[in-house]
Subunit: 295 residues, 4 copies
């Protein structure tokens, strides 16, 4: 039996809150944060992704994060893998399966080659070793790998265990148009929702991202389904000043965690080095954006 | 006498319209376009910039573009230089002076080195050879040069002939905070206005960019001056869906020219190769954005 | 007590041989390979580095590789860490300590920030958690991080537990001149030995690299010590045709493994995907180089 | 009549010597330098290339350089174009034709697109406007454009006016194998000769580069023709220590000009900013290399 494609909608990409000078994982904050996501009505959660700072967590911490999330909410989970090599990805997926079990809706694996055959071989090997459904993430800024959208279609076309694509190679809207035309699986936008209206227009099934107001993402995607562009635009435009503010190169993670903190969703907003922290010069403007975005 | 700093406000970055299969410069469209800018109330125009495809124009064409613009409107002009080397920049600036004369408010020169002394030497040599006031453009995507904001302050601090900085190295808001704290000259945001609210909050004097609705840029900057964040946000948020749509990697130029064409401001929207043209998959969404943005 | 600086000389960077269609680690070949290194007279070995494809090995495989090497030879070992985040690096170093114990001469950690304080903090945290001496590898092609040589000196100057620097940010010779002038620890060149003569001239203590003829690296470094440039050049020049052939972008690993195979040092030369394999067009030339290099 | 393919052999890429604090073009040195090239027996010269710092020369200076070279020697000339856009390339080629006339063996144009059709359209437009034979340079480090070797074959296959390809996208040897298998025109290696033996083995017709000992390049290419690998290797290996020393990232130009100066071939070795100058730490080693290379 093939894995089931991800449900359309909004998959919240979960931050990992830290506390204290040693940046310990703050499991209490984490549990509260994902409960907020659940109450907001997300379709599912993406854990241990780039925004979750998975690449800066130890194996024990990854396990703890996953356990905390799985224990706090009943949502389906996509679990990210950080490596690009087949063997360590298999190891990461197995850990996720061990902890999340049937709660796991898919393992998110990065594009690791521009060559469709190499990529397909990698995904096939991961699936054969684990049985997991795979969410394929195309995020060149993080992976260092650039693949053309039609090559990605060629790589994934015959892989029945691919349950979704996360398209984060700008410009994403035309890429999503190509992917949704060539593949049967849902394609999700990311990148903080900066192009969400255009991604939906090009066939995206929703958003999988870490914008600090998941409520906004959900409202936009629902409005799109019911009223199309005009309705979605009306809902989404008021969030865009904050969306654009958050989605700043290199400091997006620090900004979003501080937004979550000021919203009362986590206790501290620190990011693990070497990630950049929030520039002081943005603190006041962050406050202004939050004051308006929540209305 | 030192050159005069640029006036704050909106400097429209002018596209170069082409016509026919040979991509001839369409001077009629160009004249009409800049007249629209003037009527919209821009502070000045930036000609022969990246968005003007200056790097794909011959010397004769650059001259023609500049003559057409100078003949059509009475606005002050910033004229872009395409080269990174001192001698060819001087040559470009002299051509601009010859054609634009006293209408030239500044020559826009790109950051050509991460080393403050090397950059200062370059700018000094250009000024000494031409007498021109210089707008310094920090745009790593085009120049290939990345300079830290404090190194840029160090380079420019003692150069009285610098009349403005155009900050286009993301994340631009904190960079603009550093630049405006360390320099006396106006700093302008660009990048299609994607971060305009935050750039203004960090001290920007306005915007210098090619967004297809200069009216929106002007309204936002004026609202900021009069009513601060809340007022500017109210004006600007409705434009952001189009702003984000336009500011897509690699295809921004093609999208904007097509927006200008559908607005009736130019006759054809072709871009000179090797610039990418508009993906078909975006055509309908472009129409939707335009229908709403103009309201 | 502070860890002891690495001994000068040649540290062989060990390839991980694979066998069969599943690319299983070939422990027999691996043991034979490092025995060859020992007989050739290397100062020590570097295991689980980039050339060892550590980023494509599972934890169990890393452990097996390390056990095999430690069991086969009595040489001191530098053990590479693949991650850039502090917590996973600590986890990798602990695994290495568990397996290699007192045989470990240092853990090799990559530069993870251009900011000296951030980098120093990272290294300090890794040392405090593990007690290990650290070899700092500056290899921007792999880490994605570019640090200036003087910033690297600033980061490392007060860290008594740094036992060596591996300088692989071209141009390496002037960087090594800066590093050896500012630091008390040995600095090693890498990059296949392509700049070895110049690195030695600039103060390098030797080479830490995976050139397929470690005999050549050793002869060159010894000749340098005894007879300076002219002597070293005489020994090294005959190897340079092969050195340059091996050090080709993207395919260096595949070339070197095939050289090792044809030399009879490993059984198969496959590399784990997505690493590029050997282009057919180079097979004959590889043979020619080997025929001459061994004389 | 179609333009004639370039003759095989060594095409010397000519440096532009400067003098004094203003970096004036030193025409006397330039004339002497190219006379040396002629006496050394090069097949032809490449003027206004990257190594000739053409991108930092004014139009008048480019003209002067070309006139000086054409006046000093009787060799066929390849003349470089610096721009990537069609219109300015046409302008550059016309200038070259005006000055060099029938002496021009080809205009060297950079690959400006990864898309074969776009590139072919560009080359066709340049040829149609000028009638010039074109040498196509694939040098991603300078152009910022990466094209696969088979896409380059597809672009050039039906263009009878292409007279040569200069392959400088590492790894060059397999690329040259693909290019020579798919095209009828000669393909030349560059990059200072660092891979010359392998490029010849893969079908290269010679070298087009600026190594400071053109004598060495010529001897190697001739030895290859007469005695194949073993003969060429014997001639070339003694030059490789200097070749590798020269071909250092970012500082190659400064090193080579200083080599030319110490050889007495030019009077001063300055490079125009923002190009990096020679690090002091390399001065002594440069001397050592020169002392041995000339033997």
């Amino acid at each position: 039996m093939s894995p089931i494609p991800l449900k359309p909608g909004v998959w919240g990409v979960v931050a990992t809150p830290f506390s204290g000078p040693a940046f310990d994982v703050d499991e209490t904050s984490l549990a509260g944060l994902v409960e907020h996501y659940e109450q907001a009505g997300v379709t599912g959660l993406t854990v241990l992704g780039v925004f979750g700072e998975a690449a800066r967590l130890s194996t024990a911490e990854r396990r703890a994060v996953l356990q905390t999330v799985a224990g706090a909410v009943g949502l389906p989970l996509v679990v990210g893998a950080t490596s690009l090599g087949t063997a360590p990805v298999i190891e990461e997926v197995r850990l996720a399966q061990e902890v999340a079990g049937a709660r796991m809706a898919g393992a998110m694996v990065q594009v690791n080659s521009a060559n469709p055959e190499t990529l397909a071989g990698h995904l096939r090997a991961v699936h054969e070793a684990t049985g997991a459904g795979l969410v394929v993430q195309d995020y060149p800024l993080v992976s260092g790998v650039t693949i053309a959208a039609d090559a990605l279609v060629a790589a994934l076309r015959d892989l029945p265990f691919v349950v979704a694509v996360k398209a984060e190679a700008p410009p994403t809207p035309p890429a999503i148009a190509t992917l949704t035309a060539g593949l049967d699986v849902p394609v999700f936008g990311g990148l903080g929702g900066i192009g969400l209206l255009d991604e939906l227009a090009c066939g995206a099934s929703g958003a999988m991202t870490g914008f600090s107001f998941p409520e906004g993402l959900i409202a936009c995607v629902e409005a799109w389904r019911e009223g199309g562009y005009v309705a979605a635009r009306k809902v989404w435009a008021p969030y865009l000043p904050l969306v654009n503010f958050e989605q700043q190169a290199r400091i997006a993670l620090a900004i979003r965690k501080e937004c979550l903190r000021r919203r009362g969703l986590i206790l501290e907003s620190s990011v693990r080095p070497p990630a950049a922290s929030l520039p002081d010069s943005l603190s006041e403007q962050l406050e202004r954006h939050l004051a308006e975005a929540g209305r």
